[in-house]
Structure formats: C-alpha cells, structure tokens
Symmetry: C2
Subunit: 187 residues, 2 copies
C-alpha cells in the first residue's frame, strides 16, 4: 500500500468514529446526542457513519464496549503480580480514579446506565460490569464484600462528580467528599 493513500480503511474510520462516540455521547448521553454530532466530531459524513454502524444503538453500544475495554485494561495493569487482597483493590481504585479524572469515561457510564431500557445497551453495561468484577476478582482474590465495596465507591464517585460535589463547600458536600480521592472539578 503506497504512502500517498488518501482513502482510509473502513476499520480505521470505525475506530475513529467509536473514539468520537465515547467523547460526544459522554457529554449529553444517548438520547440527547444526535448521530450527526458524533460523525462531525470524527470528521466524516452522517451517511457514512450509518454505513459503518447501521443504527445509533449500534454505535452507542460500541462506545460503551470501548469504554469498558479501557477500564479493564487500566485495572489489569494497576496491580503488581505479588500484590493481593485489599492492597491490590486499593491500587485498582487509584488507577480507576486517575482514568476517570477527565470525566469522559465516567459520564459515559452514567449515560449508559440511564439508557438501559434499550435491551442491547443494558446488555453492554452488563458485559462491562461483568468484566470489571472478573478482573478485580481474578487479580486481587479479594472476598465478595470487598469487591462490592470497590464497585460501590466507584458509583459514589460517579454521583459526586456528576453533580460536581467536589466543587462545593456546603457542609453536606464536604462530609460526603472528605477522604475520597479528589477528582478534578467541572470547568
């Protein structure tokens, strides 16, 4: 293949489109984001976006899967081979906090959860949570209640970040954010 190729492969375009979908859907969610906005962010026409992903749901599901790909990879490399149990879970927690610091993956999860009335989106979230739990179990060997804690604290971070509680200094906000890994506040 010559270096002067102007057309991309469909696979390259699909990847770019999914990356754009993660960013754009994270902003306003499934129903509030037009497919046109995703295509524009990826720099391709709406018509071609629909050729690559026949429906908007297909594209959203691909974005959710990509989101959990990144999460699972991050958790996997966070913990050294000799670390187990709670220490390993803590390492995963820190890695996760760093990963979602830019809010993109965090908000995409929030929006995916809200779109679970669409069966295929619910299934994508199930797959993602399943993979997360499995990697946490396999690499830390921690008991069920600690895995639950790990997930629960993650969900709490989602809530607090979505409402930007870290930026507030009312008493309730400081109570509920104190000691939690600080995530950057909304611009």
């Amino acid at each position: 293949m010559p270096a002067t190729r102007t057309l991309s492969t469909a696979e390259e375009r699909s990847d770019a489109l999914v990356r754009a979908a993660v960013r754009v859907f994270a902003g306003a969610g499934f129903h509030a984001t037009p497919t046109t906005a995703v295509a524009a962010e990826a720099g391709i026409s709406t018509a071609y976006a629909f050729k690559l992903f026949p429906t908007k749901v297909d594209l959203f599901v691909a974005a959710v899967d990509a989101c959990y790909d990144r999460i699972v990879d991050t958790l996997r490399i966070a913990v050294g081979p000799d670390v187990r149990g709670r220490a390993a879970l803590d390492a995963m927690g820190s890695a996760y906090a760093a990963l979602i610091a830019d809010r993109t993956l965090l908000m995409l999860q929030v929006h995916a959860l809200a779109a679970t009335s669409e069966t295929r989106i619910r299934d994508a979230v199930r797959r993602g949570v399943a993979r997360t739990v499995e990697v946490a179990q396999d690499l830390t060997g921690a008991p069920a209640h600690e895995i639950q804690d790990f997930l629960a604290v993650g969900q709490l971070c989602h809530l607090l970040t979505a409402i930007d509680a870290f930026a507030l200094d009312d008493e309730w906000a400081t109570t509920v954010t104190e000691g939690i890994e600080h995530l950057p506040t909304h611009p």
Copy 2:
C-alpha cells in the same frame, strides 16, 4: 365548595401531573420521554400541562424534587428516637430498600443523574442529595465515612437494579449481589 364541582384547582392538577411525571420519566428518562406522555398519564391535555409547567425541564425538576421528598420522609420515619450510629443507618438502609423496591424512584434518580448537563436538573439532584445527607447525619450522628458508605451502597443498588443483576446467576452477578438486600427483579 359544592360536591358536584367538575373543574379541579390548578394545584390539584399540578400535583397529579407531578405524580405522573415521577412514574413516566422513571421509565425512559428526560430526553426519551415526551411531555405528551406525562400529560396523558395524568389525564390532562398537553397544552394545559405546559400552562402548569412552562417547560419540560420545570416539570422534570418538580418530579425530582418530589422523589427526594419521599426519600427524605422515608428515612426520617425509619429510625426511632433512641437509635443512633450504625444501627440507625442500617434502619435507614432497610427503609430505603423497601421504598425503591418498585424501581420507580430508583430509576428516576438514575435518569436525573444522566440529565445533569441541564443546570437546573443538576441543582435539583444536588438539593436532593444534600437533604438526604443532612437527614442521615442529623438522625444517626454517624461519622462521615459511614454516611459515605450508606450513599455508596445505595448507588450500587441503583447500578445492579438498572442492569437487573439480581435476576442473573452468572458468577460475577452472584458475587456482587450476595448479602445485598434483595430487590425484586424486572418483570
């Protein structure tokens, strides 16, 4: 006022509309639910619904506020005057689990969180969380980290219920649901 009155007061209609809004928005969320569907559920015309609540956001915010009204009331009556600390928080947890058993208030919270890019909705969620935290602090006197736990477990229940994890018997699902107050599965 005679018993044969056929017109309602605007206040009665508003209340009915907000109750309908809680139910209907809980189903598909803010952006996927037309105002017409809420008005129909309440048995009034779309035009009148817009006279009572000038915008869809106004109606949604009223629904979110009503949702947290019910939550806060439930938490308040759950704990006896002499119970404090972790025991009191556990009582609140059980009362909360019973309250959200029909998924309506639970899913409305999930959808509200996903709609926080609208400032007024974000503020409504903030108000709700603030009230929840305040009532938990005042009535239990529990330390901050226990209040955080309380919130975190609630959020975990939202996640697990939204993806109907309680209905699954894959290993990850049983791991992550075991010991958590069982909520009914989706029909």
